[in-house]
């Protein structure tokens, strides 16, 4: 991957009730250096305000995808460009 100032910018996407609680579907953030895993990103997001606290009130319920692939709480974010948070899926 390339290095430089832009590599820490990631797109966050929210779906279903996670989106409703946060209030919008998508945002770009500058990923802090200390955030290495999905779980650490959730902890950091919860410091950003009440809407994030509400969305991640029970972080174990929220599912994550890194670059459109299912991930777990301990998955390293590494060079992911798009990180999505959503409830357990209910299709079919």
């Amino acid at each position: 991957m390339t290095s430089g100032t832009k590599t820490n910018t990631v797109t966050l996407r929210y779906f279903a009730w996670v989106r409703e609680k946060i209030g919008f579907a998508e945002e770009e953030i500058f990923l802090p250096a200390e955030v290495a895993t999905v779980a650490e990103l959730i902890v950091w997001l919860k410091t950003r305000g009440e809407t994030y606290q509400a969305a991640f009130d029970k972080p174990e319920v929220v599912r994550t995808a890194l670059d459109q692939t299912h991930a777990r709480a301990d998955t390293p974010i590494a060079n992911a460009r798009e990180i999505a948070f959503f409830p357990p899926v209910t299709g079919g």
Binding site: F15, A16, W17, Q68, T69, A84, P87, T90, G91, G92
Partner: protein
């Protein structure tokens, strides 16, 4: 192998014809159709809205379909999933599997539905007659259904 995510309805006969037309190697076609129930438990619903994650949905359905094709000797397969606002009685999802013999087609269709339900990023929101609406919770039974395939991957079916 084919997947589609669409707002429009689908016609099962047309889809089967599309998969099997002109082919003589297929001996079995299995279809599963999921439809909207008019009630969630005791509570009637007036409509159901399906949200999804464009891009990941297609990628995940393709992964699930590829896995089924690895496990069973399928001649053809198709997944169609609808999105947007649907009403009781409407079609939601169609899975079609075709194989030379029935067991592979039956098992692969069930596998596709079990995996789709647990992995494909769709979310249902149900609207009630009083104007309120609620996101549907994931079912424990869907997770349990998945474990069956992890314990005993069937390679024997032909």
């Amino acid at each position: 192998m084919s997947i589609r995510v669409q707002t429009e309805d689908f016609n099962i006969g047309t889809e089967i014809a599309g998969l099997t037309g002109g082919r003589t190697d297929i001996g079995a076609v299995v279809t599963f159709t999921g439809t909207v129930r008019g009630a969630a438990g005791e509570s009637p619903i007036t409509s159901m809205t399906l949200e999804h994650y464009p891009g990941m949905t297609e990628a995940e359905l393709a992964r699930v379909e590829a896995e089924a094709n690895d496990r069973w000797p399928l001649s053809a397969s198709l997944i169609v999933h609808r999105i947007g606002e649907l009403h009781p009685g409407n079609n939601i999802v169609l899975v079609v599997t075709a194989s030379a013999h029935r067991h592979a087609a039956f098992e692969a269709a069930e596998f596709l539905m079990d995996y789709l339900k647990s992995r494909a990023p769709f979310w249902k929101k149900e609207a009630r007659p009083d104007g309120t609406s609620e996101w549907v919770d994931a079912r424990e039974t869907d997770t349990a259904a998945l474990q069956r395939w992890q314990k005993s991957p069937s390679k024997a079916a032909e």
